[in-house]
Amino acid sequence: MTVLEMAKELHLEIISKGEAEVREIHGVYCCDLLSIVMGRAKADDAWITVMGNINAVAVAVLADVSCIVLSEGMGIDEESIAKAQEQDVCILKSDLPTFELSRKIAEFCAL
């Protein structure tokens, strides 16, 4: 399942497309503390967080997650979006609460 297929199916807003067409989702990880995310998220996870800032973009790159999914309707600033585009990081957005969103992604990706 690619990130783009999931985004379309679950009606997630695409804030930065990044490599959504080619990146696959192999798991879901939810956490907002960046150091914990870096230590525990796995490569190719869809990372669900409310932490929309430039450091989150850096963490996504380094932990090699397949995308950032902002939950609870949280936004992200322009500078961070520009950074994400430059680094090919996919950022998606949803108004759903974190639990609901993770459940939907897990179901849709048959995890």
Binding site: D32, L33, L34, S35, I36, M38, G39, A43, M51, N53, I54, N55, A56, A58, V59, V61, L62, A63, D64, E79, Q87
Partner: protein, 141 residues
């Protein structure tokens, strides 16, 4: 043929948004060299945590990275306040980071533990009031 690549970065102590440039850069170099993704991930995470620590606690510093066919060695040197109790600092959850850092998603007390977890060897040489040098090595299988 010389098989050693040496990279050096200055970490700006004031700028949180730029922290991660060294790790992103090293990651790119390793990818070009065809280093396995799991190795790159280990290096990138360990180095980013180190960079963040330098910004939070030490007003920046210098990072030297040496890449050989067998290993990646990272030396992070700062002239910050030093670590009074290294053993305590190594405990997961122990943090002296200020509140504004926590609001950015850091300061969970996972920095040094993550650096230890993702490097194959780590050495901390710290003197209070003088600074800290952390040396990390990740082996390339």
């Amino acid at each position: 043929m010389e098989n050693l690549i040496q990279l050096s970065y200055e970490v700006d102590g004031d700028d949180f948004t730029r922290a991660g440039e060294a790790s992103a850069n090293v990651k790119k170099s390793l990818r070009k060299l065809g280093v396995p993704p799991e190795v790159i991930r280990k290096v990138a995470i360990a180095l980013y945590e180190g960079e963040i620590n330098m910004v939070i606690h030490a007003e920046g510093g210098v990072i030297d990275v040496e890449i050989s066919p067998e290993h990646v060695t990272m030396v992070l040197k700062d002239h910050g306040k030093g670590i009074a109790d290294v053993e305590k600092a190594m405990q997961e959850g122990y943090s002296t980071a200020p509140d504004e850092v926590r609001s950015l998603g850091f300061g969970a007390g996972m920095g040094l533990p993550n650096m230890k977890k993702y490097s194959d060897e780590m050495e901390i040489d710290s003197t209070v009031g003088v600074g800290t040098t952390v040396t990390m090595t990740v082996y390339i299988p």
